[in-house]
């Protein structure tokens, strides 16, 4: 039996946010700002490649700037997507085990997506 007679609010007061309080919110905004620019670049790239054959498309992605930005786009997009889907799941899935399971599945899928996407860009850029 605890001898602490303070109520829960009184105990929590002054302890702060355990230093990660706004981490999710902040990362969502940072990736959003990055994606504003990366999405514009991506759309311009895709529109510029319309009607080109396979070799031309591949050669274009292989250019250093495009390869680097493509990696940045993939990482930022998947990161942003996971943070967003997490909020949706937390808001609408009220069965605890379904909530946890879908979070784990989505995070693992996103990591697999990023790794395979980045690997594909490297293969294209480094020509193997």
């Amino acid at each position: 039996m605890s001898r602490d007679l303070r109520n829960p609010l009184q105990r929590a007061r002054g302890l702060g946010s355990a230093k990660e309080g706004v981490g999710h919110w902040w990362n969502q905004r940072l990736t959003a700002i990055a994606l504003v620019f990366l999405v514009l670049w991506f759309v311009v790239l895709v529109l510029g490649l319309l009607g080109h054959d396979y070799q031309a498309v591949r050669a274009s992605i292989a250019r250093p700037w495009n390869a680097v930005l493509m990696v940045a786009f993939i990482v930022a997009a998947f990161w942003h997507a996971v943070l967003g889907l997490q909020v949706v799941i937390e808001d609408y899935v009220h069965t605890r085990w379904v909530e946890v399971t879908s979070m784990v599945v989505i995070k693992l899928l996103a990591v697999a997506g990023v790794i395979s996407g980045v690997f594909a860009v490297l293969r294209i850029a480094l020509g193997s």
Partner: protein, 130 residues
């Protein structure tokens, strides 16, 4: 769902539909759609890395009637989430909270996303072959 006998806030159907509410819902919906769409981008990039045949089958699906319809929908989802996302960043900075500004900005997201989508596809059909 937590078991409670406390009163709950009214559910969706009780509210009058407003542009601010629609854009909020659409931001989530388009976000989910874009998350799925990012898997298609992934497919495209991986297909390029594998070779001409993998690319050809990706291209065949993307350029099929259903593929084009989905790409068109995806384009709108992208532009809506893009414009409305910038609007959210602006509001996160604490600006634009006067009610009239707020409503105008929500309409800007709706109309702007439609304009950008049509402009993008006008370019596709006039500029290059699909």
């Amino acid at each position: 769902m937590a078991q409670t006998t406390r009163p709950l806030s009214p559910h969706l159907q009780i509210y009058k539909w407003q542009s601010q509410m629609v854009t909020s819902i659409l931001h989530r919906a388009t976000g989910i759609a874009l998350a799925v769409g990012s898997l298609v981008i992934l497919w495209g990039v991986i297909a390029i890395s594998i070779g001409p045949e993998a690319w050809a089958s990706f291209h065949a699906v993307a350029a099929s009637p259903l593929g084009l319809v989905l790409l068109f929908a995806w384009t709108w989802a992208l532009w809506f989430h893009f414009i409305n996302g910038i609007r959210h960043l602006y509001q996160d900075a604490g600006a634009g909270y006067a009610i009239s500004t707020f409503i105008k900005a929500s309409w800007f997201s709706i109309v702007g996303s439609l304009v950008l989508t049509l402009a993008t596809w006008a370019y596709v059909f006039m500029g290059g072959a699909a």
